[in-house]
């Protein structure tokens, strides 16, 4: 997120965490505190002139907030109803500013791609659906 902020000129990153995952919020806040202690987020990071900060917003129980525009409305304190697109969040998102929204599943893939390259990632999965995908299997077995 820090790198994305640097590349795009963004100065804020928001982690929107479900109320149903309170432990996730605690762990993420500890990580943010570590970054702040190391001087890797905040103003004028490492004397570079770049400023970036991370904030956790705890959701309050609404499944629709998994949809990116509903999520943006939620952070703004509006009813988390889905927005009509265009404009897309990258054009008009949070507080009407350009916003990139990514799922944590996407961010979790970054380490593999950075370490092994994009071709290695494309080599997993199918031609039209490369990489991994998390699915939840439910059934009632008797």
């Amino acid at each position: 997120m820090l790198v994305a902020g640097y590349v795009t000129g963004a100065s804020h990153g928001v982690l929107y965490i479900r109320a149903e995952y309170p432990e996730a919020a605690v762990i993420c806040q500890e990580a943010i505190d570590d970054l702040r202690r190391e001087g890797l987020i905040g103003e004028d990071i490492d004397g570079s002139g770049f400023e970036f900060d991370l904030k956790i917003i705890q959701a309050q129980g609404s499944y629709i907030c998994g949809e990116e525009t509903a999520l943006i409305n939620s952070i703004e304190g509006q009813r988390p109803e889905v927005r009509i697109r265009p404009p897309y969040p990258a054009q008009r998102g949070l507080f009407n500013k350009p916003t990139v929204v990514n799922n944590v599943e996407t961010l979790a893939t970054l380490h593999f791609v950075l370490e092994n390259g994009g071709s290695a990632w494309k080599g997993i999965g199918t031609e039209r659906s490369s990489g991994t995908k998390l699915v939840c299997l439910d059934s009632f077995f008797q």
Partner: protein, 160 residues
């Protein structure tokens, strides 16, 4: 929803976030008081209908959430597993019926019997000894599970 509301909320942005403030107001009773929603609306220069409308949307801000102490998972996996009715019966030994609420999917789909109490999630066989969980201080309760791959690690590969 409304471009104007986005701008008005953006005046205070993330530092004094409207949604976060509503969450904080609900922590005492389970839902923010109407007069607090009125005050918030004035602070952000929006209508009371907007703050009321937002609060009523969420499971943990709406008035029906008041008084809830424990939440049972009503996600698809737990419901398919058929564990939740018995769990609610067990919880009724320790809580009144209207103190038991619902949360949609605590992410314990592989174990079921999932419920949430005092900021922690529990599932599987942990829910058998409810008395121990309820009686111990929150910081003593640790119920977690490790996520790992059965084959080659990709998302869960360590990176240090």
């Amino acid at each position: 929803m409304s471009k104007n509301l986005s701008d008005l909320s953006g005046r205070k942005g993330l530092k004094e976030n409207l949604f976060k403030k509503m969450g904080e107001l609900s922590m005492i009773e389970g839902a923010p008081k109407n007069m607090d929603l009125d005050k918030l609306a004035k602070e952000f220069l929006i209508g009371a209908a907007n703050t009321y409308g937002t609060a009523s949307f969420y499971d943990f801000l709406k008035p029906e959430n008041k008084g809830k102490k424990v939440y049972v998972c009503n996600g698809t996996a737990c419901l398919c597993a058929g564990t939740q009715d018995k769990l609610i019966d067990n919880l009724k030994d320790h809580f009144d019926a209207d103190e038991i609420g619902h949360m949609t999917c605590l992410g314990r789909c592989h174990e079921n019997n999932a419920f949430h109490l005092n900021g922690k999630n529990y599932s599987g066989t942990t829910s058998i000894d409810l008395k121990a969980i309820i009686d111990s201080p929150a910081e003593k309760n640790k119920d977690c599970y490790h996520v790992k791959a059965s084959g080659k690690q990709i998302l869960t590969a360590p990176f240090f």
